[in-house]
Amino acid sequence: MIQRPFFNLGRRPQLPYPVLSQDALGALKDLPPPDRAVLLYKGPGLAGASPSIKRGDGVRTGQRLLLESGGAAPLVATVTGRVADISSQRGNLGKTYSSIGIDVTPRDEQDGEFFKIHKEGSPEQMLGYLEALPGMPSLSPLLPKAGPVRILIISGMDRDLLITSNQFLLKTETDALAEGIQRLKEMTQPDRIIMAVPPGSVSDAEKTGAEISVVRPFYPNGNPRLIVKDALKKAVPMNKSLEEAGIAFLGVDAVIALQPALVKGEIPIHRVVTVVNKDMGAIHARARVGTPVRKVLEALNIETGHGDRVVIGGPMTGRTLYAEDEPVLFDTEGILVQDRSHILPVSDTHCLNCGECVRVCPARIPVNILIRFLENRLYQDAVDVCDLSYCIECGLCSYVCPARIPIFHYIALGKHEFAQQMAEEAAHA
């Protein structure tokens, strides 16, 4: 935990990203494949539909599982085994997930479908297939289409503090990265390719041949919107998605994951995660996608106890787990274990109006007024008067709040509730 300096003169907190140096990378620990893998599909998937797979079905590595009849909601398996369990889960803010448990057989059997697509199919088909890997970000922004100048931005920054998986991959798998970028370039023909990296990784990033944008390694500069603004010297308006502005944004981890698929037609099955122990020591581990967090912690001898916090992601924006059954997916950058003695409770004190949050907010939102609207559930006013929708979700407001109001939680709830209100109004219009 980074404490406030005793004399801070009202300056914003300087929260440095950890910077890996070449000689202090540490070893990469390979984790054994799990006995039971879990794959998550982020979407309604199984809700109300009859999936084309059922318990007891055999699954091969790289096989596309269709969770709804008619071919919708595909999910690509990263293990070989037998389906043991299909269920639906609830996540934060009412999101639903489909979860498929697979009893893993030790020997991998490859499914041939993707290899065929790689040989004969179009880039659309290939990327569409890969997009269905569990936790893979949307790849459709990569595809060539008419519109503004198309820019591919690859981030070598990690999204959150303590997490160093992108930096680690950038330094250890530079060749694979360069190859992956080259292949993406041939396939999708972007007008510019920019790599955003911390100062220590510039020489590695140069090997990829992309344009370089150096990011000051202080939180929240790893945020995609801020990286885009840094790289293009112009912010994308918040009412436009990056995709609409012609920007495809991928992390180094995603490019590394895509590389074997794009180059050799092999379905990727691993990802490197940063596991941060209670003493904040970080280990880089390569896990089979689908490995439950429990297995990762067991393999690394990290013990957790009652009342601790286990977070997927980093300390500022991660997501807590209530059970260790959640798996490592392609978007799992890190796992953070926090001892219960390090947890500060939040409070329901009123906002003091001290303005710390206003001064720290990278989006320049009047958080002190916003929190008053949000506490009173005036979401429309929060959007109209206080720019709720312009929040880039860095979590710094909660981090600095002396009243310890869970501001970021209120903001997330506010955005969710407002979106629901809008959807309801649209339905009744």
């Binding site: 934060n92 918040m238 286990v310 004190t349 320049r364 880039i392």
Partner: protein
């Protein structure tokens, strides 16, 4: 399942910089102590009596109101103690017990809780209380009358009053060093300029007081007072005299920067402070009150919500949807 392992689930972020309301309050108290000690040193037991009674009354009123309103007990956050202390610092050492008791009630109830408590008050609570005392019982806060029986070895006339009623020649004997060292009559904690400046700097360095507010307030005082002084040096005091007398320094570092009643954006903070300084000198020079700070502070407090509407455009907010 008594021994089941359950994790704590909460929303991000999972880190906090460790700041708290309580730490802020205690820092305020710590920063105010030099000026308070000087007051007690000068006026002795009567001053100590007022300080102790004011702080205890404020905390007790807060506790009673918490209980009466069935709210969680908030005295541990130290805000009530700060309000009591700041009120005592503005009062003369001879303030009668009932005035302190009523002042503390006014500060906690009328200044703070009628609006919903900490962070909801539009006006500075100790200032509200002081204004009420001043308007209701003139004699209580008339420093010339209240301190008539004290002789501390310097001119015991209240400097702003002397300036107002007898012109600049009446205050010629006050030296800057003397004013800084508290050789002037006034409220218990308002006379020791050096102590107030030291405390104020501490609060600014700690980040509890935004430097923009005291800086622009002092600039406002100096500039406005210079203009008056230049126009008629015999009638209007020197700028530095305005800065070091009355409760100007206390207001600059401890009162106008109070979180809830002051703006948080940069340009509004400058406007707010400068307006406060301007009004203070204006009331002192052409108003009817010797010390203009009280009403200047309350007036700028009222401007705060309006001023704070001046703010930068949000990140990624284009002209088309402004």
């Amino acid at each position: 399942m008594p021994d089941q392992k359950l994790y704590l689930v909460s929303y991000a972020p999972y880190w906090h910089n460790g700041s708290s309301v309580r730490a802020r309050s205690y820092d305020y108290i710590l920063a105010a102590l030099p000026a308070v000690f000087m007051g007690i040193l000068q006026y002795g037991v009567p001053a100590f009596r007022v300080v102790a009674f004011s702080v205890s009354c404020a905390v007790l009123w807060e506790l009673l109101l918490n209980k009466a309103m069935k709210k969680p007990v908030t005295i541990v956050d130290g805000n009530a103690a700060v309000i009591g202390l700041l009120l005592a610092m503005m009062l003369p050492a001879t303030a009668p017990w009932w005035a302190v008791l009523i002042g503390a009630l006014a500060a906690i109830l009328v200044g703070k809780w009628v609006y919903g408590g900490l962070g909801c008050n539009p006006l500075n609570p100790p200032m509200v209380a002081f204004a009420m005392l001043m308007l209701s019982w003139k004699g209580v806060v008339d420093f010339n009358a209240a301190l008539v029986n004290f002789d501390l070895g310097f001119d015991m006339a209240y400097p702003p009053a002397s300036l107002k009623y007898f012109g600049a020649s009446a205050v010629e004997d006050f030296t800057v060093w003397g004013l800084l060292m508290g050789r002037q009559s006034g409220g218990i904690g308002t006379t020791f300029g050096l102590g107030l400046i030291a405390g104020g700097l501490y609060l600014i360095l700690r980040g509890h007081v935004r430097w923009e507010i005291p800086a622009s307030f002092i600039a406002g005082i100096l500039i406005t007072a210079s203009l008056f002084h230049v126009s008629d040096p015999a009638r209007y005091g020197a700028p530095i005299f305005h800065l070091l007398t009355g409760s100007t320094l206390l207001a600059a570092f401890f009162l106008i920067g109070e979180d809830s009643s002051s703006p948080v954006n940069r340009i509004p903070m400058f406007l707010y402070g400068a307006l406060g300084g301007f009004l203070t000198v204006l009331i002192r020079s052409i108003g009817i009150y010797p010390d203009g700070v009280v009403f200047a502070v309350l007036l700028i407090n009222i401007c705060n919500p309006l001023l704070d509407k001046i703010r930068p455009k949000a990140f990624g907010k284009g002209a088309q949807d402004a």
